[in-house]
């Protein structure tokens, strides 16, 4: 039985704890606990009223049981009773129980708040502190509602005791963190700032934390704190180590307060007032000077406290980024720490230098430490320190040292810890691309990445190398030669097979002249890996083979033989089987010309920001809220890459490749998003249908554009589809076409028995481009074909639509493409009309269709944190800015579908923002030529009532209204 050293021993509790400790097994412990719980329950329920002491003892036992990790579902009422005890010791236990357990039981909140209120007004500082601690510990919204107004009053009241002020300051800080909207700024703020001058350093410490938090929220209100903070800091820094008595910690004057003051100053730019600025610079210099003085104590606490202040000072110097001498001094100081014997200091120096590297004043100074950092990478024994070294190398990299840094990181990769390999791979890939002077180096680097750490090379990385090789002629031959050589290795990583398959399929001809890499050798090499690979890679290889048939007619027979084998044609995997069947058929029936067109070399990819960067950013914040969402988006951009491009060029030849090429990159179809899978295979099946039909009557342009827009609806474009399928002149459509296209950009707009109109569109900021495909479903030519776009009335000023002229004839079974360029000038409601006129068999046909160009197309999604969201939400609180509607669900209320619709609508879907996980929250910006309108939306489904409530808040009432109308039609 251990000695209970102080205070009031609760013998029963001590006995119980001993019993638990003596339990030999988990089962015995649970048994003992259950026995105790039964006992307490019967005591609480018993007829005999318990005295305060027993109640306290039992509540304390319950708390102990809870802290052991067991659930507690009673006792809350007894704890609340204790709050109103006038015995301190009982009250204290009551508060502790509430602080730890209250979240789970909120029915009692009004009772608790009542007790707190009584204690706050008791004028007994000890009771007041207990109450304030409780508010700070619980920090719930209910408490904020009840006390956010009262706590500031206590804080600034003249007669409040120091210790109560301290509690009140931090209590308010907590409330502001959890419910910033409830803490209203007011007259008290100026008085809080003056607490920085308080004589009691404890009060100053607590107040500084509070002011820092508040200043982040509304910097203007607390601007005056800068001069006071500088003055205070200056007094601390220049004081002798004994001046501050108990606030001196191991010979360092008030380290906590100093750190907090320096932190507060980081909420602001450098002071404008010269005198204040000078005084601050002096402080920072003094702190840097002190670092060079011999230590006043050998204790680690002394050096930690001193260096804590130093590091915070350096953070401030970096934050200001305006004093070159200070920046360079900071850098030199960190340089010394890089070689310090304390691991902690080396770690922090590496971390801090990372930010220093991004300042133009100190970037060069940081670079001088490259050897030390590389050495750290090799010799540090702690992986977290090595990780920092990798970060710093990445941060200090520029054109001058890229080769060295990339080489060092590559060689480290071979022995690197598994936990950080993927990140290193991403970093190397980014640096290699960013600083590549000649792309052969880039290709070598990426292949080395695959060689050393193939498992950690994510899809983004190998997609990217292919994009770059395709876009740069000068490196294609080299890439083909290099992958060919790399593939010779007896064991090579599957990612290498993917890159190799893709590149040889595209550029194998560039090395085919060499007898050592003749077409057959290339094919045999690739095919020797085939059986070791996963399905997606095999699918890619099959596409490479069909490309080979085009590049090298001499191996056609061999490849057809492979495609024809049972293991391909009857493969259990539907994707592989389909590819084998289709490619074989294609190679048999299509003429060389058609093959050459369909299997044309890939067109260059549109230049875009590397998706690897995005991936790295995500990796840096694994606590990040929506990896899945980003994942989808990314996959889509990669998959969509080819399709997008092919449609932007009107050149039929270029557009010819999309089907196979979408598959090449669109391996994703089998492994990534579910949506893309059916689409890709649909595309492939189309291809076959197209060529099994009468090719002669089918000019090349026609199938071609079908590829990229392959959508379930588009199969009816095909000329061999029986005409009888179309009974009516106009197909009955359930929805207005406009509504159908609100959340998507592609599909069939209109169809009658003569004509089908397909759309594919893309929008960026306030601009858009729409590809309109006119499919002639008959076998007769359309004459005098003309299509024009009309913007009526007010729309004329709000939206510009420019239609490029198109051919006046559309052959039977053929398709005509017209491009519309769209510019959104200001927000609008109406839709432009597409007028089509043509002569068919002697009669003039007139068709008018509304074009689905809606305001939401000019959305750019915006990611934001929960805090930002609610702040903006609040800012958009004016009545005319908000539009809300409640409506009945017309489709099944499926979460995934709803998510997809909101994203399709154009807003970023923000996970983890709404406290209720079944609600959806989105954000984005509507771009028009004249203005940008920030939009926030919230959709609250009620599955029981089959209803939704949709709320839109934007800075423009017309936009709120229009978006609300559009979106509410979608569910």
């Amino acid at each position: 039985m251990p000695a209970v050293s102080k205070g009031d021993g609760m013998r029963g509790l001590a006995v119980f704890i001993s019993d638990i400790r003596n339990c030999k097994s988990k089962e015995a412990e649970i048994k003992r606990i259950n026995k105790e719980l039964a006992n307490i329950r019967s005591k609480f329920k018993g007829d005999k009223a318990l005295d305060g002491y027993s109640k306290k003892k039992y509540v304390c036992k319950l708390l102990f049981i809870f802290l052991l990790g067991h659930d507690i579902d009673f006792g809350h009422m007894e704890a609340v009773n204790l709050l109103s005890s006038n015995k301190y010791t009982e009250k204290q236990i009551g508060y502790l129980f509430i602080s730890v357990l209250v979240n789970s039981n909120s029915d009692l909140i009004s009772l608790i708040n009542n007790a707190i209120k009584n204690d706050l007004s008791s004028r007994n500082p000890t009771f007041m502190n207990l109450a304030l601690h409780c508010i700070a510990n619980v920090g719930s919204r209910e408490m904020a509602e009840a006390f956010a107004a009262e706590v500031p009053c206590i804080l600034v009241a003249g007669d409040t005791m120091d210790s109560v002020k301290q509690s009140a300051a931090l209590c308010l800080l907590r409330l502001n963190r959890t419910s910033p909207d409830l803490v209203a700024m007011g007259e008290w703020t100026t008085r809080v700032v003056h607490l920085l001058n308080d004589q009691h350093l404890g009060v100053v410490t607590a107040a500084t934390s509070l002011i820092t938090t508040l200043a982040q929220k509304s910097p203007e209100d607390f601007k005056t704190s800068v001069s006071l903070a500088v003055a205070r800091l200056s007094r601390i820094v220049s004081s002798a180590s004994t001046d501050l008595q108990d606030y001196t910690y191991y010979f360092v004057a008030a380290p906590w307060l100093s750190v907090k003051l320096l932190r507060l100053l980081q909420c602001y730019p450098p002071p404008e007032d010269g005198a204040i600025r000078g005084r601050l610079t002096e402080c920072l210099e003094t702190i840097l000077n002190k670092a060079q003085e011999p230590p006043k104590s050998k204790k680690v606490q002394h050096s930690n406290a001193k260096n804590a202040v130093l590091f915070e000072a350096i953070s401030l110097i970096i934050h200001h980024d305006s004093e070159p001498t200070l920046l360079v001094r900071a850098c030199n100081q960190l340089g010394q720490f890089l070689q310090h014997r304390e691991t902690n200091l080396r770690y922090l120096a590496l971390e801090s230098m990372c930010t220093l590297a991004s300042s133009e004043f100190s970037h060069e100074a940081v670079k001088t430490h490259i050897e030390t950092v590389i050495n750290a990478l090799k010799s540090e024994r702690d992986v977290s320190v090595r990780q920092r070294a990798v970060d710093l190398l990445y941060a200090m990299c520029d054109r001058s040292n890229a080769k060295q840094i990339v080489a060092e990181m590559l060689s480290y990769l071979e022995t690197a810890d598994y936990s950080i390999r993927e990140e290193i791979v991403l970093k190397v890939a980014i640096l290699a691309e960013k600083y590549a002077v000649d792309y052969t180096w880039y290709v070598d680097t990426i292949l080395n990445l695959i060689r050393f750490a193939g498992d950690y090379v994510s899809d983004e990385v190998w997609y990217r190398v292919i994009q770059i090789v395709i876009n740069r002629d000068e490196v294609q031959g080299y890439a083909a030669k290099t992958v060919f050589e790399a593939l010779q290795a007896p064991a090579c990583h599957e990612n290498l097979v993917k890159v190799g398959g893709y590149i040889l399929g595209e550029f194998g001809n560039l090395i085919a002249g060499d007898s050592r890499s003749s077409p057959l050798i290339q094919f045999d090499l690739l095919h020797s890996k085939f059986h070791l690979c996963s399905v997606p890679t095999r699918a890619l290889l099959l596409s490479a083979y069909i490309k080979f048939i085009n590049l090298f007619p001499e191996v056609k027979g061999t490849i057809q033989e492979v495609l024809r084998s049972d293991s391909q044609l009857r493969n259990a995997d539907v994707e592989l089987q389909q590819r084998a069947v289709e490619y074989l058929r294609l190679s048999c029936i299509a003429s060389t010309d058609i093959l050459a067109t369909v299997l044309e070399e890939m067109p260059p990819f549109p230049e875009r920001e590397s998706s690897i960067l995005a991936k790295l950013k995500r990796k840096k914040g694994p606590g990040n809220l929506h990896p899945d969402l980003d994942e989808n988006r990314k996959e889509r951009s990669v998959n969509g890459g080819t399709a997008d491009h092919s449609s932007t060029t009107s050149n039929a030849k270029v557009a010819a490749s999309p089907t196979p090429s979408t598959d090449l990159l669109g391996l994703g179809s089998t492994i990534t998003t579910q949506n893309s899978a059916p689409r890709a295979s649909k595309g492939a099946s189309l291809l076959v249908d197209v060529f099994s039909g009468n090719i002669a009557a089918f000019p090349v342009e026609t199938p071609v554009s079908v590829g990229p827009v392959a959508d379930e609806n588009f199969s009816s474009f095909l000329p061999n589809t029986p005409q009888v399928a179309y009974a009516n002149a106009t197909l009955p459509t359930a929805e207005e076409p406009e509504d159908k296209f609100v959340c998507k950009n592609n599909g069939v707009l209109y169809e009658n028995q003569l004509l089908q109109i397909g759309l594919k569109s893309e929008f960026r900021q306030n601009l858009g481009r729409m590809y309109v495909f006119f499919g002639n479903k008959t076998s007769t030519q359309f004459m005098n074909f003309a299509a024009s776009v009309v913007c009526q009335d007010t729309l004329q000023a709000q939206l510009n639509v420019h239609a490029k002229p198109a051919d006046p004839t559309v052959d039977g079974g053929a398709q005509l493409q017209q491009i519309l360029n769209i510019e959104c000038v200001s927000d609008f409601v109406d839709a432009p009309v597409l007028n089509i006129q043509f002569r068919y068999g002697g009669t003039l046909q007139n068709i008018a269709v509304k074009l689905p160009i809606t305001l939401n197309k000019f959305f750019q999604p915006t990611e934001m944190t929960s805090q930002d969201f609610f702040q903006r939400w609040k800012q958009l609180g004016a009545p005319q800015q908000e539009v809300q509607t409640i409506f009945k669900a017309r489709h099944s209320m499926d979460t995934e579908v709803t998510k997809a619709k909101i994203m399709g609508f154009g807003a970023a879907l923000l996970d983890g923002v709404d406290p209720n996980p079944s609600n959806f929250v989105g954000a984005g910006v509507i771009h028009t030529k004249t203005t940008q309108v920030g939009c926030l939306l919230r959709l609250e489904p009620n599955t029981q009532a089959q209803m939704y409530r949709l709320t839109l808040r934007t800075s423009r009432d017309t936009v709120s209204q229009r978006l609300c109308d559009l979106l509410s039609e979608q569910f």
């Binding site: 102080k6 704890i17 400790r21 002491y53 350093l201 008595q245 770690y347």
Partner: protein
């Protein structure tokens, strides 16, 4: 600071203080993950590590690990000294504190922590002032004890 955990070398949690709202389930998962991560580290390793999007600062005192999670901009070294100051406070209060003191007087360990840190920030860094506050409270308890006997009868009536 987002939370503070005290746990033994065997991985048993001895104290947990959360300064951010988290569900019970999340708390349990975080504690489990973190305890595992830290116990797996070797003694000479550095006291800081990145964990999810937080910075973890920890230090071992005898059989107990003290571990704090702070945010990105927070100062690691000063957090390390927050841990040390808390240990000093416990030590002074209990007189060479050991793990058992914290187990058997866990409520005291919480009270001392509340006097020192509130809402995740240092409230009072002076050792004297914190101990004074705790001792005053203990004094109140003793007063209450003395007064307990004659009053309990009255209270019982009041309660029934």
């Amino acid at each position: 600071m987002q939370f503070m955990l005290l746990f033994s070398r065997q991985g048993k949690l001895r104290l947990q203080k959360w300064y951010v709202p988290l569900s019970d389930k999340e708390r349990k998962k975080i504690s489990r993950d973190l305890v595992q991560t830290i116990l797996a580290r070797k003694p000479k390793m550095c006291s800081f590590l990145e964990w999810r999007d937080l910075k973890i600062v920890y230090k071992r005192y005898a059989s107990l690990y003290f571990c704090c999670a702070v945010e990105d901009q927070d100062n690691e070294l000063i957090t390390l000294e927050i841990i040390h100051r808390y240990v000093e406070l416990l030590d002074k209060y209990f007189g060479s504190v050991c793990e058992l003191d914290i187990i058997f007087n866990f409520e005291k360990a919480y009270f001392i922590l509340d006097e020192f840190l509130l809402g995740g920030e240092a409230q009072e860094t002076s050792k004297k002032n914190v101990l004074k506050a705790i001792e005053q409270a203990d004094l109140l308890q003793e007063d209450a004890k003395e007064a307990e006997a004659p009053r309990s009868v009255l209270e019982e009536i009041g309660l029934t």
